[in-house]
Subunit: 210 residues, 4 copies
DNA sequence: AATGAATGAGGCTTCATTCAT
DNA sequence: GATGAATGAAGCCTCATTCAT
């Protein structure tokens, strides 16, 4: 009859989440090395020692943080995979929409930034991100691009060979937002729309011929 | 012409450069916060105190380092600007060649990485990079893209509005090399060649019609 | 006689004893300062807070532990006192037997070790040990040695003046067991037998003369 | 021509020694675990960080401290070894004199105390002490005791088999000084004199017979 | 009474910066 | 100028103690 999670367990989970949320903010702001756990604790509203109830050390907190942020993005992306014969244009629409609504201006943007800035020094995180996000995203693009190419929708196979080309402007957008946006704001939506046009107009070429 | 640079002054300049070279390696390896001036001094073959003869503090060393790395890239890039009516394809060829030979596998790659990873926390550097590299590079692309569009070589003005689209894969290549290349190597030359095809095929479309 | 000890009270007593037993092991293993109450609680099978129901703080637990370990040894030793005109040899036999069976390889050995290693920083414990064990043991030896001397059984009064000489090898045995036994095992029984021979042969001298 | 030790080197050595001296006092007072390097630094008159110029960490400081204290004692003891056919009585006189003048009331007493109290948790130190002090001291006693036994000077071979019997009262004296002397002072000189009488009187027995 | 999550003071250690030589 | 030993502020982490449940 009893809910399987007691109040105490719930509180613990909430507390853990509060720490993760605070940690994301602090790590994103200062980077791993310069971030202070004091600040994380204060922002999370807990004592310093409390962090160590859930995490072995600073590095563990950082890794758990990034790992815990992978799952949600994934789920969304895999929804896109469902449709079998997706047109490239629809796929790009879906991906960019996902990026706009689920990443831009959200904590997930910070997660990506941290993978970019700290991934080199955290191989485990790089590996997880590659396995769970990069390779799956690439696979979807590759599959759709190949189908489009087969159907004559795409004149060539560049996107099938380098799915990274699809994601490159999103990566740039994240970095720009972090480094240059205060100097020269970037219209990310415009950028992605233009990118989509560039990529799909390629497709239109041959089809316009026929 | 002047003989005013004594041997002693030359030695001082060399020493300063040795420190800058060492600093780039160390900062690139560990990031600003985690880098240790001990390591910089050792790699430069000088005593720790010597660093402070040329640089006010760690932050100053970091900024001088990135600033000193801007000029050379710039010079090269401005050579491209010389030619008045460059075709887009030739521009891309030039830019990618510049990237391949002058950036990939060189210390400049590390400079770009540092701007990406640390730029947020060093607004002065972000501003300098934006002013000296980003805005000038964008301007070149913009100009050539507009001319190509006017000539009907490009069907639309996306690249003129978002020159960043040209650079995005290079940014991605730098990050990939730092984070994921040990997991899945990236054929950067192939990537850039594919990127060029995508961008220029767009141009071909309408011109093939006419 | 009284039925006043309820099951609950019994359980509390048992719990307290479990904590004391666990504490002895942990303190003996790590020393007072390095011992962790977490470990004590775990070994005792209670929660950490439970310790504080019986003991004011870590120091109190430590003192109670050593105090509670004094009584039993005492009782045994006082049994030896009973016999009025004990020969020195018989006394030594008794003492060494007591040491062999009641101390060696038992938790009491650890108690002695703790008095040796921590006594300096716990004057109250030193005082209790001195009053309850040292002075009483010395008194017994002194009395018997004096009687033996008076009877001409002992040629001199060294043992009466320095009863510590009787106990020194036992102290050494405890320390050796803690520090050097893994490097060079010590045959404690042999040591004590040899010690007894040394001490009593002294006694034989004059008696062999007469 | 120049002295091989520069002033700077001398200062460094002196500073290192000051740290070692301070460390001995602090470690002896508080024990390894409870000792604070802040206190060591303050007593040595240096900053906290200075300790780490000479020692890797707290443990290293502790080990170096005890190791550095071995050599001098050793040298003295080996002087005793020189004489080939030492009588037992003369050996004991020598050893006890050495103890009285070189150990009692000196920092070396604290070193021995630390070996006794911390040796269990520092196997390396236990091993070094055993190899450099214990085994050599035992060897000397063993050799002299055997010769004395062979000459009929000693009626039995207990001391040859258990040289520890010779040292036991010294060990006891060190511990007593640390734990009980404030409660009941111990006349260490008297104790050792009595001990010598006990040990040598044993010898007299048979020789008085012959 | 018993629990164990939460607390936060305190210690070890690192490292940017200084300064006497 | 050049050095590198010395400094001490600051951060991570532990653990005795408390307290809400």
């Amino acid at each position: 009859m009893s809910k399987s999670t007691s109040k105490r367990q719930e509180a613990a989970v909430q507390r853990r989440q509060a720490i993760l949320d605070a940690a994301l903010e602090i790590f994103a702001e200062d980077g791993f090395a310069a971030a202070r756990l004091d600040d994380v604790a204060e922002k999370a509203g807990v004592a310093k020692g409390t962090i160590y109830l859930s995490f072995k050390d600073k590095e563990d907190l950082f890794e758990q943080l990034l790992i815990s942020a992978v799952a949600p993005v994934l789920d969304r992306m895999e929804a896109l995979t469902g449709e079998p014969e997706l047109s490239l244009d629809r796929l790009l629409q879906g991906l960019f929409e996902l990026f706009r609504t689920q990443v831009l201006g959200t904590p997930r943007q910070e997660v990506i930034r941290l993978v970019i800035t700290e991934g080199r020094r955290f191989p485990r995180i790089a590996r997880i991100y590659h396995r769970e996000v990069i390779s799956k995203g690439s696979e979807i693009v590759r599959r759709v691009a190949q189908a489009a190419h087969r159907r004559g929708e795409l004149s060539s196979d560049e996107l099938a060979r380098f799915p990274q080309l699809v994601f490159a402007p999103m990566v740039l957008a994240v970095i720009w937002g972090s480094v240059f946006s205060r100097i020269e704001p970037l219209d990310v939506e415009g950028l992605l729309a233009a990118h989509r046009q560039v990529l799909t107009r390629t497709a239109t070429k041959r089809s316009s011929r026929s």
